[in-house]
């Protein structure tokens, strides 16, 4: 029979350890937050001040106005106006510019005749992020420029610019200027950084093994489930603290909006923590040293968190078998839950299958841990 006093004795002892050992304290309480900040900045920092060069064969007022339009603002900086293709080449090779804009000799003529106006953009393929950004940006500004110029011209001809707008609007949808990647990534990221307590619990069991305190515990009449539960509970509490703190940080710092119910998010986070901590303790049962527990936790908690849970790569793009495997990692359903609650503000009626999945995982992992954990050296 499970004795709750034994469970609580182990849990209290473990809490003391967390609070008194600076290393553990930092790992458990501060690392998730720091990780979130780090990832959020590393992965979503907006690209700005990309250097470009312009090769203008037209040299007309229209082309100058066009260049001015494109390099206005902080996104693209005009590094140089060059006179030949060779100069462009040199700048690109030396990495001085990430992209180059080439304006043909008939630019203003074509523009006035309402013909297709070819513009060539060359990008540095070694850094496609910046290059693509430049292309997107140039294309977007070109649209604006062309519409405005044409609009003025049409007005001069007595026509309403609005009559051309359907075409423009459709094109603009391509370059949705309001798209903020953080909104999409951070909720998924939360599910990953909350994996840290699982790592700690795996380490905690391995640490007791290394320090010999597990030997002493095994010599006592404490039940296996009592010991494992007592180990999980403190990390669950600390994890819940993180669940309160991290979304608050995401909202205040990154201006992410939580559209769904916070209470629902909190409760389902508790279920997630139960699942991932059970997975952590299962790892701890098998690993003899903290080093091994750490390595395996990274392999099974964090790497799949990156690649399989759909945070960065859509699950839909994965083969069926991998998708199934991914579903057995607590991070996958939880990433779906956080996104659903944060972005569209979905309720339990939408996310309940994921919640059931998490609960199931927790029970299976704890069961396996209790099954394989023997009070023998």
């Amino acid at each position: 029979m499970m004795n709750t006093r034994h469970v609580w004795a182990v849990a209290r002892k473990e809490l003391h350890h967390i609070l008194r050992d600076p290393g553990t304290f930092i790992l458990v309480l501060l690392t998730p937050t720091l990780l979130l900040l780090f990832f959020a900045y590393a992965l979503t920092t907006d690209i700005r001040h990309v250097n470009i060069a312009v090769l203008d064969y037209d040299r007309s007022p229209a082309s100058r106005a066009f260049v001015q339009q494109i390099t206005a603002g902080e996104d693209l900086d005009l590094y140089a106006q060059v006179g030949s293709f060779e100069e462009l080449d040199t700048l690109l090779v030396h990495g001085k510019i990430k992209a180059a804009l080439i304006i043909g000799p008939d630019f203003s003529r074509d523009l006035m005749r309402l013909q297709g106006t070819p513009i060539q953009v060359v990008i540095d393929g070694t850094e496609p992020e910046s290059g693509n950004f430049a292309v997107d940006h140039i294309a977007r500004r070109a649209e604006t420029f062309v519409t405005e110029t044409l609009g003025r011209q049409l007005q001069g001809m007595g026509l309403e610019a609005a009559s051309l707008s359907p075409l423009d609007i459709r094109v603009r949808a391509w370059f949705n200027p309001g798209l903020k990647p953080r909104n999409d990534i951070i909720p998924g990221m939360i599910s990953m950084v909350l994996g840290v307590p699982a790592l700690s619990v795996a380490l905690a069991l391995a640490r007791e093994r290394e320090h010999g305190t597990l030997e002493q515990l095994m010599a006592t009449p404490i039940g296996r489930a009592e010991l494992l539960l007592g180990k999980i509970i403190p990390y669950l509490l600390v994890g819940l603290f993180n669940v309160l703190f991290i979304p608050a940080l995401a909202i205040a710092w990154f201006h992410i909006s939580l559209n769904g119910s916070f209470l629902l998010f909190f409760l389902l986070s508790a279920v997630f923590l139960f699942a991932i901590l059970s997975m952590g303790i299962l790892l701890g049962v098998f690993m003899r040293t903290q080093a091994a527990a750490l390595a395996l936790s990274f392999l099974l908690i964090f790497y799949p968190g990156f690649f399989l849970t759909g945070i960065f790569f859509p699950l839909a793009s994965m083969p069926e078998e991998v998708r199934l495997e991914a579903m057995f990692l607590p991070g996958t359903p939880y990433a779906a839950i956080t996104r659903a609650i944060f972005l569209p503000g979905s309720g339990l009626e939408v996310v309940w299958p994921y919640a059931v999945m998490l609960l199931f995982q927790g029970v299976v992992f704890t069961g396996l841990a209790a099954l394989f954990f023997r009070k023998k050296l």
Partner: protein, 321 residues
């Protein structure tokens, strides 16, 4: 009444047989010392008794429980102290005791008195707020002992409790054990120190997983059948060879610059004179020479030497000492 009863107890690890057919009965109230060189199987034996290892073969009964099937049930009746310090460094002395009191289901009303008594007993009363990790080695051992006593176990299993502790702390620790022994506790203690074996009511000498001898210390010394002549020559290297070659000398053990010469019991006085004569003949000065009763240490070394020689005879590759 035997509280521990072992019949051909055997435990194998991957490549070694750590405990090899141990047969032994330990009676209630004994202070049983398990001695032997490193790797003899002492720790494995104690871990088996504590239910921490599976039994490979043989029978083991502790109290009325069969260790093969009821290892969990025996745990609340024994107190086991591992060789390494295995308490929680971040917890204070008090918290460690409280933790084990909870795990062992010590009744709440009994705790304050028992804790106070154990702290007093272990001399830790004034350190009760201190974290276990900040205690000295000797105090840590005493705290560990106090933690294994909190549930008043019927049997105490102590694995080298005084290894790595200074001589004064060692003596204090043994005074505590003696008190417990006098109170009627059954204690099984392993130790590499022979002076500690002297304080046990019975000693089992383990060698390569087997029990090579098992008797009260006095009996072991009697079985040795030897007297010891302590010689303090000025040049012990030269003296050693001369004395070893003398008739009736069983063996010469070196202790620093002193030589302990084992001779047949009853021939001590005669051999002493012969040694003096030989040293004089070879112009070797001798600071001191005296007849002394044999101690456990000499008996132990002598036995191990005999056992090593027996083993070596079966294996021509091992050079004989």
């Amino acid at each position: 009444m035997a509280v521990i009863s072992l019949r051909n107890l055997t435990r194998d690890f991957k490549t070694t047989r750590a405990v090899d057919g141990l047969t032994l009965d330990i009676q209630a109230g004994e202070l049983f010392g398990l001695v032997g060189p490193d790797g003899a199987g002492k720790t494995t034996t104690l871990r088996l008794l504590a239910g921490l290892l599976d039994i490979t073969a043989g029978e083991a009964q502790v109290l009325k429980y069969d260790l093969k099937t009821q290892a969990e049930r025996v745990k609340k009746h024994i107190g086991y102290m591992a060789q390494r310090f295995s308490l929680y460094s971040e917890l204070s002395v008090d918290e460690n005791l409280a933790f084990f009191a909870e795990i062992y289901d010590v009744p709440r009303e009994a705790r304050p008195e028992r804790t106070a008594h154990l702290l007093e007993f272990a001399g830790l009363t004034e350190f009760r707020e201190r974290r276990a990790g900040q205690l000295s080695g000797g105090m840590q051992k005493k705290l560990a002992l106090a933690c294994t006593l909190i549930h008043q176990p019927e049997i105490l299993l102590l694995d080298e409790p005084t290894t790595g502790v200074d001589p004064i702390a060692r003596r204090e620790f043994w005074n505590i054990l003696t008190d417990l022994h006098l109170d009627g506790a059954t204690i099984v203690v392993s130790t590499p120190y022979m002076d500690e074996a002297d304080r046990c009511s019975r000693v089992g000498l383990m060698y390569e997983g087997k029990l090579a001898a098992c008797a009260p210390p006095r009996e072991i010394l009697r079985q040795l059948g030897a007297e010891v002549i302590e010689v303090h020559p000025a040049d012990w290297r030269a003296a050693r060879g001369l004395i070893a070659a003398l008739e009736g000398v069983r063996e010469v053990q070196t202790y620093g610059e002193a030589l302990h010469v084992l001779v047949e019991a009853g021939t001590g006085a005669k051999r002493l004179r012969e040694i003096e004569k030989t040293l004089k003949k070879h112009n070797l000065a001798c600071n001191n020479i005296r007849l002394a009763p044999p101690r456990m240490e000499e008996a132990f070394i002598s036995m191990i030497r005999e056992l090593t020689e027996e083993t070596a005879q079966g294996d021509p590759h091992v050079p004989r000492p």
